[in-house]
Symmetry: C2
Subunit: 463 residues, 2 copies
């Protein structure tokens, strides 16, 4: 109705002007009057730009007047001079662990795991817990501009349902682990669960099911091979923790006289659409293997610092051609899911490590959090930049705070002074999930209340 | 008048109850129903606490019912379960440099200085520029919970006037430097300016004037000694950059065959009420000198990372008994003034450096940003914690965002998931500067507009 009226008025105006009006293509949504940071092939930034969206897809990105001349939006959002950018891609998290955030910090790894995380997980993790945790994580991600995330946890089908309901895009990995865990007594049970999960979400527009063997040190060779075989049979991605700590490297050496990468290579484990989280302790030969096998790597600077895991060789991996995305890791170890912090931390950390303030400049940090993260997950043809034909996953980010004034360079500001809270509007698959800070797909009050109720159970579990 | 009425009503109620009411002391302000994080000697956290304030001072900190029984506030702020904490102490910044934030990033130090910062300063820094910049910095600091800051820049008397008008507390150092700068052609001119400035603000309730010799590598021995002599004569503090880069250490070695600390020690420069910024490249002997001379150190983790300056030996300095506070450095090199980020970065960085997740735990990061910062500036008897007799410099900090849910430990959350934007209310010297995110002492719209007008001049200057 509105569309018809608009077309009629357009025609009328044209008649009134005494000249034929070019027909404007009707589309579902226009986002206009923004500083459009495209992260496209030429890294174009359009000072007063617009994005035309039809259904789930971006159909055009251009100067605002050019878009206005070509397209008629059923709905139009005026960005009012704010930044319009691709949605952020969080390449590593454990969404429901937001319910453990800040439960215990500043402890040695084994104390943290054995006194807090393992007992809490054993006593509290259930389908209900996972649903409540995923909703809280989804709320936080939508509010802070993450539009796609890679996950690995238990009851991953519940995570997938909650993610889809919230409207987020996810590559969601069902965890496989050698010992009994909340959703599987054996790895075989976990594999069977993965297969059911993968079939439930086959060809889903938002959810990509994955198999997530936990790590080389928590699984035997047979199970690791079975995970790879299942992934190949079902054509699904693989997510695994890799070389996160020195202990992992030591274990691999003691058990197999190999590095974790080399051991997994010896099993034929590596292949495309494989996402390795952390990649902290890697030899040059390891980096060569990951590059040759087209494995994507998720770099988690905040988690690696807070847990004192070490410093990932990000520059060396990038130089080898590896797609390195950014991740927050689970909120039990970070303690939040804010990808703007991940960008800033990646830029800060690698300047310090390289003793060179030119290392990981702001444009690279932004690429890592968008297009490179998409590439690490094998999704760079679909998401990660604002380009016609890609899915409409985008953000409007305010640049008007005192801390963002003045602004000489929007990309610098996105990395060095912007936080998740500056995101005003979040759009995924062409659908508005948050508009002017109001999340439309989740009942905020209920999500927070449910999370707090589960927190009481967590407190009892570790008392 | 209101106070008299309140006393009358209190008496009346007591008569009505038929029993003598204990007289409640009238005070100017009560902040109640908060999780009071005192950072006092016993690091007390009061789950439902209150703070009684009379005039500029804290008169009591206790459980909310106990405060209600003893005090009658002319005004009461209900914190509604948010955190009430000491105001943050930023021990190192160059306030007006907010006008250069993001002007140029990710460059080698000399390119950054010589192509951008020096030309921009030469062409734009004036009393008007400094006033506009300080107002913008003050707005950002009030909005992000800094209540006291140490500064060094040019036209420091203008900074002092703008700081006092905004209601912030400052230890403000007039920069002395060997070469001609915007406010002084010679060091002698700078010293004369310092003396006038110190006399104008002698015994000011909010402003502590200071002399700020820029660094040992930008001043000769005579001028450094003259700065110390002036500070002693006027009884004012000294602020200096110290051992920020390897180049500084190299310069000191080449010129004097000493470290920067040893060279300054040889001049009799060190003494109490001296604040050294950065302290990145220090030998064990240097640390010994600073400890013996009771020099405070400002640690600036974000600046040191972004400029690739190096890693300050914070744990060693703390073990030697040095008061180590936190600073943001100027916004040209960070790029913001958010002390919550400084806390988080200090905790993250030193865990990584120590390869131990127990290093700089959250309570220590909080101490560094409050009481230790106060101690580093010789002000720990006056500010830095919520204790009776200290100045009423405090914050109300919201803990209700998705990213802060659930909350197991308020101190963990302050360090690991809170940002400056979560500060709701900022009080300095008993005066409310920001209430529920509305800054009362600055015209926000005008401050941002003035800053943007100066940014246009900065753009022209570096074109």
């Amino acid at each position: 109705m509105i569309r018809t009226l608009a077309l009629f008025l357009t025609a009328l105006t044209a008649v009134g002007m005494g000249q034929p009006a070019p027909a404007r293509r009707p589309v579902s949504l226009l986002v206009t009057n923004g500083i459009v940071v495209t992260v496209d092939g030429s890294r174009r930034v359009i000072p007063r730009g617009a994005v035309a969206i039809d259904g789930r897809d971006i159909v055009a990105v251009d100067e605002a007047p050019a878009i206005a001349a070509r397209f008629q939006g059923r709905e139009t959002i005026d960005a009012g001079g704010a930044v319009v950018m691709p949605g952020l891609v969080n390449t590593h998290t454990h969404a429901p662990m937001v319910l453990f955030r800040g439960l215990a910090d500043d402890l040695a790894l084994m104390d943290w795991l054995q006194k807090y995380i393992f007992p809490a997980e054993a006593k509290t993790v259930s389908p209900e817990f996972v649903r409540a945790g995923t909703r809280l994580a989804a709320l936080e991600m939508i509010e802070s501009g993450t539009t796609t995330y890679a996950d690995m946890y238990y009851f991953e089908e519940e995570i997938a349902r909650a993610t889809r309901a919230a409207g987020l895009r996810g590559v969601l990995g069902q965890t496989i682990i050698q010992f009994p865990v909340p959703d599987a007594k054996t790895p075989a049970e976990g594999l069977a669960r993965t297969e059911r999960f993968a079939k439930e979400f086959a060809a889903d527009d938002l959810i990509t099911p994955a198999v997530a063997p936990h790590a080389m040190y928590t699984l035997d060779a047979e199970t690791l091979k079975a995970c790879r075989a299942l992934a190949d049979r079902l054509s699904i991605p693989v997510i695994i923790h890799l070389a996160e700590t020195k202990d992992e490297v030591k274990t691999a050496d003691e058990k197999y006289h190999m590095t974790p990468v080399a051991f997994l290579e010896s099993l034929g484990f590596w292949g495309p659409r494989t996402l390795a989280a952390h990649g902290v302790h890697l030899s040059p030969a390891d980096i060569g293997v990951l590059a040759t096998r087209h494995v994507g790597v998720s770099h988690n600077p905040e988690s690696n610092m807070k847990l004192a895991s070490g410093i990932a060789p990000v520059e060396a991996m990038r130089q080898a051609g590896i797609a390195v995305g950014l991740g927050t890791d689970g909120a039990a170890s970070n303690n939040d899911l804010d990808m703007f912090e991940a960008m800033r931390q990646a830029a800060f950390l690698h300047k310090l490590v390289a003793a060179d303030p030119r290392a990981i400049p702001a444009p690279v940090a932004l690429e890592m959090a968008t297009i490179d993260g998409a590439r690490a997950m094998g999704m760079d043809k679909v998401i990660g930049s604002l380009e016609p034909g890609k899915r409409a996953d985008l953000l409007i980010v305010s640049m008007s705070s005192a801390r963002q004034t003045p602004m000489y360079d929007p990309v610098s500001h996105l990395v060095y002074v912007t936080r998740g809270d500056d995101v005003r509007t979040t759009i995924v698959n062409g659908k508005i999930l948050m508009r002017d800070r109001k999340v439309l797909t989740l009942d905020r009050v209920k999500v927070l209340a449910d999370a707090n109720a589960f927190a009481d159970k967590v407190r009892s579990a570790v008392r």
